[in-house]
Amino acid sequence: MAGRPGTNQTSYSPSLKTQKGRPPIFKDGDTDWVRPDGRGFHQCRPAFIRTGAVNAASGSAYAEFGNTKVIVSVFGPRESKKAMMYSDIGRLNCNVSYTTFATPVRSQGSDHKEFSSMLHKALEGAVILETFPKTTVDVFALVLESGGSDLPVVISCASLALADAGILMYDLVASVSLSCLGKNLVIDPILEEESYQDGSLMVTFMPSRYEVTQLTVTGEWSTPKINEGMQLCLDACSKLAKIMRSCLKEATTTSQE
């Protein structure tokens, strides 16, 4: 690892120079390629989710999908700022931020503005805003460790936190992303796979209503590939939503005991 003798190294991170020569984990002609963590192409990471992580918040949830760890708290419905105009439907305010230690190389820990607006769009279709007029619900997401597929985990965790807070919703929102590496479609990519991907597809889905609230596609895709990718994601989203539901049920049964 790093630490050349005689230099003043103030950071512990491994020297980038050693990483340059590393061959990509995936080569196009490789048919026997196995994913670095041994999963099948269509296998998602095991999910660990718990609600009630933050006592001070109206609702909260913590999710761990492999190395991606996210905590979301929901505050509200609270009085809207005086500067905002009257509105007869509620407002949803979302904020996604990364800690400084979330990425392998220490970063500024900035707000990801575009993730915040994507989270907002994903949840907007699910929350029944008419039930809390004149007030605002704040959703704050913090990514503690970024291990790939960050935004989908944030979205799923946020909808769980909203449910924990008792905000009325049409349905739970589950979200999954898919990476295209050469000709293969791998679901729930890790950070390494994402950096070599040729394209990505992220779906945010409400399973009971069978509605997609958000869909983003990057890279070049032909129509049959998009079809296949969407089917895989929708399937994974339905299974994830079942896990989320059972987590909520457990939380209420343990609190009743």
Binding site: K121, V212, E220
Partner: protein, 313 residues
């Protein structure tokens, strides 16, 4: 924008259901497109596009820089959209920030492809000069002058046109890479050159660069792969293309699809809050592919006309 009364809303929705929009267009017809290139002489490439009352200006500037350590064989492209207060008073100060970020992210998604660079509209490996040391940084800056709906499509068209009048590079590595002579081409009205880079032999240490101003040639940057963006807005049960801002205020949801010449999808963003059935999204993709052919042909003819115009002058 002034709100719409209930009567106006019904008028718009009913008209769309009958394939007749408020300005007489059919559902899948674009407003007339006006294009002007080379509007910014100091930029390496620029274009101004007007669709109906929506007007944007885009400029492409190329500067030399150092490639990132994670991708030493690729150049960089940065896309930035600025919403000017002349378009709407709410854009003053920080007001237009959210919309600008949304548009910039959507454009980057459509034009830059996956992280490995595959499927990108702009080939980043052609921007490298000396691997690991020098590369071209393309800065694409867009300005929204007037907004009447359908900003994303207009921006996509403007970037495609601005880039098509940019020149590509030839790197001529003669000997090894100690002294690098860079011949700069002065930007002429449309055909601005990004330099021919000669890497000549030399004595001294690594990062010596000498800049020499010359004025020849330039090569056409291959932009035939840059995709166009088609935004389909769903109102009621039908989709329309190129919505005006009144129609956009009525929308349930919209999907912006970027299609390239080969008919492949290069990027897709769903906007708007309402949920959509997956089969509807797949249907929208096929409609967008069909509509994009017209738009690509229109842009190609504009590019050809503008090139012919310069050759005469």
């Amino acid at each position: 924008m002034v709100g719409l009364s209930l009567g106006e809303k019904h008028f718009i929705q009913g008209g769309i259901a009958q394939d007749l929009r408020s300005d007489g267009r059919k559902r899948l017809t674009y407003r007339p497109l006006y294009v002007e290139t080379g509007v910014i002489p100091q930029a390496n490439g620029s274009a101004r596009v007007r669709i109906g009352a929506t007007e944007v200006v885009s400029s492409v500037k190329a500067e030399l820089g150092k490639p990132g350590s994670l991708q030493p064989d690729k150049g960089r492209v940065t896309i930035y959209v600025d919403c000017s207060p002349t378009a709407a008073p709410m854009f003053e100060g920080r007001g237009g920030d959210e919309l600008s970020t949304d548009l910039s992210v959507a454009l980057q998604r459509c034009l830059l492809g996956g992280k490995s660079g595959a499927g990108a509209g702009i080939d980043l490996s052609s921007l490298i000069v000396v691997e690991g040391k020098i590369c071209w940084d393309l800065y694409i800056d867009c300005l929204v002058i007037s907004s009447d709906g359908n900003l994303l499509d207009t921006l996509g068209a403007a970037i495609k046109l601005a880039a098509s009048f940019l020149i590509s590079f030839v790197t001529d590595m003669r000997n090894s890479n100690n002294i690098i002579l860079i011949l700069f081409l002065k930007a002429a009205l449309s055909n601005t050159g990004i330099p021919r880079v000669h890497v000549a032999a030399g004595a001294s240490g690594d990062d010596n660069t000498e800049v020499d101003i010359s004025d020849e040639e330039f090569l056409q940057f291959d932009t035939s792969d840059i995709p166009v963006i088609v935004t389909l807005t769903k109102i009621g049960r039908h989709y329309i293309v190129d919505a005006t801002s009144e129609e956009e205020s009525e929308m349930n949801s919209a999907v912006s699809i970027s299609v390239n010449r080969k008919g492949h999808i290069c990027g897709l963003t769903k906007r708007g809050g309402a949920g959509l059935d997956p089969s509807i999204i797949l249907d929208m993709i096929s409609v967008a592919k069909h509509v994009s052919e017209q738009l690509i042909n229109k842009l190609d003819s504009e590019i050809a006309a503008a090139e012919a115009g310069e050759e005469e002058s």
